[in-house]
């Protein structure tokens, strides 16, 4: 199973995880990461914009790279675009693999690239209006680990 998608509407990470698990009976391990809009901290909404001609092809190329680098039985990468609210899932990366560390590292690898090397721009709405989010230095350092 390989499911790489941009989603304009809310989604349920649990049901995607279960589908991956069912579709990967010979993979003993499934690792996942779910990123959500944080509650608290004064964020009222979060908007993710993207550039269609680059974003999905970039995610597909990232999935290719993960499948080449790690021995995987399945890979799911779902990423929201549009406006989200606190508690809403933003991203799900899940990998099924015969060996535990392939699954965990594939998720780590994909998340680092989605954070720093995928064509998304994020802004938050606070009481005083919208603010663009700058990339964090830590995200670039995380990405550099895979070079």
């Amino acid at each position: 199973m390989r499911d790489i998608r941009l989603l304009a509407d809310p989604f349920d990470p649990s049901s995607s995880l279960e589908k991956l698990s069912e579709a990967s009976p010979d993979s003993g391990g499934i690792a996942s990461f779910i990123g959500k809009v944080r509650c608290g901290g004064g964020v009222e909404a979060l908007e993710l914009s993207h550039y269609e001609p680059l974003t999905l092809p970039g995610m597909d190329a990232l999935a290719d790279a993960a499948q080449e680098r790690f021995e995987l039985g399945g890979l799911v990468m779902l990423h929201r675009i549009g406006t989200m609210h606190p508690g809403d899932p933003i991203v799900l990366v899940a990998a099924a693999a015969p060996h535990r560390r392939d699954a965990i590292e594939a998720v780590d690898f994909c998340m680092d690239h989605l954070k720093s090397a995928a064509w998304f721009w994020k802004r938050e709405k606070r009481a005083d209006g919208w603010h663009w989010i700058e990339p964090r230095e830590a995200d670039h350092a995380d990405l550099a680990r895979w070079a």
Binding site: S49, P53, L54, K115, W132, I133
Partner: protein
């Protein structure tokens, strides 16, 4: 026909518009002239990329957009 310049992410706010049409062909000096001074300053920063016709340019100063091409101005990303 023309070249469409697309302002993405925070560059949209700096430009004050989503996109702009300019006459083809469009090269790097032409692009810097076509946008506001604030946007031009951003474009000169290394961390701002340019895509032409769906491909990110390895060297943005070699931009050469033709009739019908979309030129996307790509500020630093912040996904996930």
């Amino acid at each position: 026909m023309a070249v469409t310049i697309l302002f993405l992410g925070p560059l949209r706010d700096i430009a004050g518009e989503d996109s702009r049409e300019v006459s083809a062909p469009l090269d790097w000096p032409g692009l810097l002239d076509a946008v506001s001074g604030d946007v031009a300053a951003q474009l000169k920063e290394e961390r701002v990329n340019i895509a032409c016709a769906g491909k990110v340019l390895a060297d943005k100063t070699l931009l050469h957009a033709e009739d019908g091409d979309e030129v996307a101005l790509l500020p630093p990303v912040s996904g996930g």
